[in-house]
Symmetry: C2
Subunit: 331 residues, 2 copies
């Protein structure tokens, strides 16, 4: 069986959820450890994870390299990879890219909904593209092995990032805009720019990104994946569920509002539906990955393609993009 | 030939000094990266070192494990190991011990001259021993593989640390108090507590720690080492030169005064001699380790003992003390 990787979750972590990862046969999860946190706050979040690693060594461990996915499978555990949904952890200090890579960060979004120091977010009215600092940080991320993630970025910034970056970039969690025209889903020219540069996209199970939202069917979801595979090549896709299990609604408010405004911003929600929407009944938590696998088979994918979509494509991407670009041959 | 390790330097780092390390055949140096710095300031110092590693990859690289000393020899470079002379980098947050170990910190003094949150420094009038937080931090340092260094601590605190710690501790840079009764040199009962628990001491070439200060002879220094070896066993000793090459006198003032006082504190200096004292002419910089090796031979040490003192004893100590205590057998 292929490896099973979920390339984006932000749950209210607990032993229960770690056990569900094991029940679901999930070998690796890319977890968000910062939305709006500055460097010191991000380190506090790393400390929280270190305590969980110490507390539940039979369920989870800190994943740093692609080989840790294999080690997870071999030891019956789940490898946890760190990522940021915003560049706030590096503040205005490019030296923090290498420091945070050393601490395990493997994905960093260049912007989260708003304009950042590096790029534009998908909720801004104007997108002037990658900034001066953005170009420098992409170069540094390429050097150390931290993946540029443009999930919440605006179109022009995303296309420019894909072109500027000398290593493939990722959209860890989004769907096709042509299937569900959400602001966060990606138009074909954006997906094209990412995959043409060797990049990857993970399909999201967050209801606002689904056709019919919480009522979306598994077959509709898998048909969208089939469309994407036909259009761009199946090897460029995987899962990035965006699972926010057990989070109180105050957390989705923190994601949207951070400290940048004193007013409420409903993001993909609305005044009448401000909280987390309910998950579709075929993907409630980490135990439901079998449903996706079965759905993909029904949509016509063969064994190799299913294995690729469920994790092997991400594994190949991890292998190529987490290590420093210029590793000395003697090291 | 044995490995050559200097277990404490704090120079005004430059390409010139890195080249001198190579000329002197120094395989590894434990460098101080914090005196009074808080966590964020320490990370800025790590960033500085990252730039040097990037700039001079043929001369130096970041040492993390004992095997890096071997790799340094094999690739004709010097492995740089990080350490702190004060626990200020962990602030009041025990979680930072693991974070900073991950970033490369391998030695941390529990106090520097003054009382700290963890232990008492050698300049305090009273030494109440290891604090409540100190006991917790020693346990955490033992767990992750960060060595307790008591070079600038007071006697009772040092003896207690040696006893409380479940892994050997170190005095990275000091000499015998019976040879030169400086406040920073160590009385026999302190050395005894350290070595009885498997610990190590590195001999200092800082003039205030030498008999006759800057006029000390190499033969007097090596005779002191012979005395220590007779008294405590040669396997417990190495070199920790305390070389502060090319530093302006403002730096020794920073070491002594930090931000804790508005008045001048002369430490081991005086109002008439406030700056760095001149090095003895037989140990001016990293090119002079041959002089020490020759002096040790004249003092009667055999080949194995000389190799041990010049670095192999530290290498053995590194092998035993830099990795986590409870490494899972499957990792």
């Amino acid at each position: 069986m292929g490896y099973r990787i979920d390339c984006l979750q932000y749950a209210n972590w607990s032993e229960k959820i770690f056990r569900q990862m094991r029940e679901g046969g999930v070998d690796a999860v890319h977890v968000t450890i910062a939305y709006h946190e500055n460097f010191r706050e991000t380190v506090l979040n790393i400390e929280k994870w270190n305590r969980w690693f110490e507390q539940f060594p039979d369920l989870i461990f800190h994943g740093e390299w692609a080989s840790d996915v294999v080690r997870a499978r071999d030891t019956g555990r789940t490898a946890i990879f760190f990522g940021f949904q915003n560049p706030s952890p590096i503040e205005d200090d490019i030296g923090l890219v290498e420091v945070l890579h050393k601490l395990g960060a493997r994905f960093m979004q260049l912007s989260y909904n708003n304009q950042s120091l590096l790029a534009t977010g998908c909720y801004e009215a104007e997108d002037p593209g990658i900034t001066r600092m953005g170009r420098q940080v992409i170069k540094e991320m390429n050097r150390v092995g931290m993946v540029v993630d443009m999930s919440h970025s605006a179109d022009r910034s995303t296309i420019e990032a894909a072109d500027i970056s000398e290593r493939p970039i990722a959209i860890t969690h989004a769907n096709l805009h042509s299937w569900q025209p959400a602001l966060r889903n990606k138009r074909d020219d954006v997906v094209r720019a990412v995959v043409d540069n060797g990049g990857m996209m993970g399909f999201s199970l967050y209801p606002h990104h689904l056709q019919g939202k919480s009522d979306c069917t598994i077959d509709s979801f898998c048909q969208m994946i089939a469309t994407a595979a036909d259009r761009f090549g199946v090897q460029h896709f995987g899962i990035g569920s965006d699972l926010c299990q057990d989070q109180p609604d105050s957390v989705v408010e923190w994601m949207r509002v951070g400290r940048w405004t004193k007013e409420i911003d409903y993001g993909e929600g609305s005044a009448t539906a401000p909280g987390f929407p309910p998950q579709p009944d075929w993907f409630r938590d980490n135990r439901d990955f079998d449903n996706i696998e079965h759905g993909l088979r029904r949509a016509g994918f063969n064994d190799t393609e299913v294995a690729g979509l469920m994790g092997d494509n991400w594994l190949r991407f991890f292998e190529q993009n987490f290590t420093p670009a210029d590793t000395r041959p003697d090291t």
